[in-house]
Amino acid sequence: MAFLDDTLEVTSRQHGKVTVIDIKGDVTTFADAKISEAYTTATEAGAQQLVLNFHHSNYINSAGIAILIRIVTSCGRNGQKLAMSGLNEHFQKIFRMVGLSQYADIYETEEQAVAALSS
């Protein structure tokens, strides 16, 4: 069933010292393996600044938020800086409501997030 399949694409790339992890699609419980692996790979490569860049993520549920909370925790432990970008208004609001925005700055665009982490 196509619409139940994994409709999430996670890729990562470097932007100077900043690692940008692009997250395209549904952020639900099924996103765990991909997002965690992308984070672990970046960390093993020595990433100190990370941006989670959401594109067209029209669907993030509480299980997806729980994944992001675990990334925040790991970043804290590993002394990494974390920012998020590309969230639509609704999810920016939810991230603020939940308090996630205290642990990872939220920017409209990837460029703003990269600039902030680079400075």
Binding site: M1, A2, F3, L4, D5, D6, T7, L8, E9, V10, T11, S12, R13, F30, A31, D32, A33, K34, I35, E37, A38, T41
Partner: protein, 152 residues
């Protein structure tokens, strides 16, 4: 750029999605919207989805206007099945009245329509926009339109 994968999930059994609607004009829009969002998530092209919207709208409108006409508190039952790349939509009504206009094989006669004659075009429109369509009726029960659209 590095790409990350999740382990493949097992496919669930092909249980359908079922929608029951009041037999009132206007509610065909709910069927049309629901099928369209399922089709969009399956990856159908926008023009296929637009066609499917028309097909579902005409089928549900026929169920309301013909199949269920005169039945109080009737409902329209829409059964949506996703199997691989095929989307099947069944529209069922509660009455049985024989289909009487050739199941939409012929292009509606616009000349006659322009003379003021009432030429049906719902079934013909459905035929234009789906890969497969079948009308069946069970005396004393109801009619069913079964439409199949395939992705790619």
């Amino acid at each position: 750029m590095r790409r990350f994968w999740s382990p493949k999930r097992t496919q669930p059994a092909e249980q359908p999605i079922e929608l029951r609607l009041p037999s009132t004009l206007g509610y065909e829009k709910v069927a049309m919207d629901t099928v369209a969002t399922v089709a969009a998530r399956m990856g159908f092209r926008p023009d296929q989805i637009a066609g499917l919207r028309t097909a579902v709208s005409e089928a549900v409108t026929n169920a309301i206007e013909h199949g269920n006409s005169g039945i109080r508190n009737a409902e329209v039952h829409v059964v949506i099945t996703v199997a691989g790349n095929a989307l099947t939509v069944r529209v069922r009504d509660q009455h049985y009245r024989r289909f009487n206009r050739g199941y939409g094989y012929d292009r509606p006669d616009l000349e006659r329509a322009l003379q003021g004659e009432d030429v049906g075009m719902g079934m013909w429109l459905i035929r234009q926009f789906v890969d497969e369509v079948e009308w069946t009726g069970v005396p004393g029960q109801g009619n069913e339109v079964r439409m199949v659209l395939r992705c790619q």
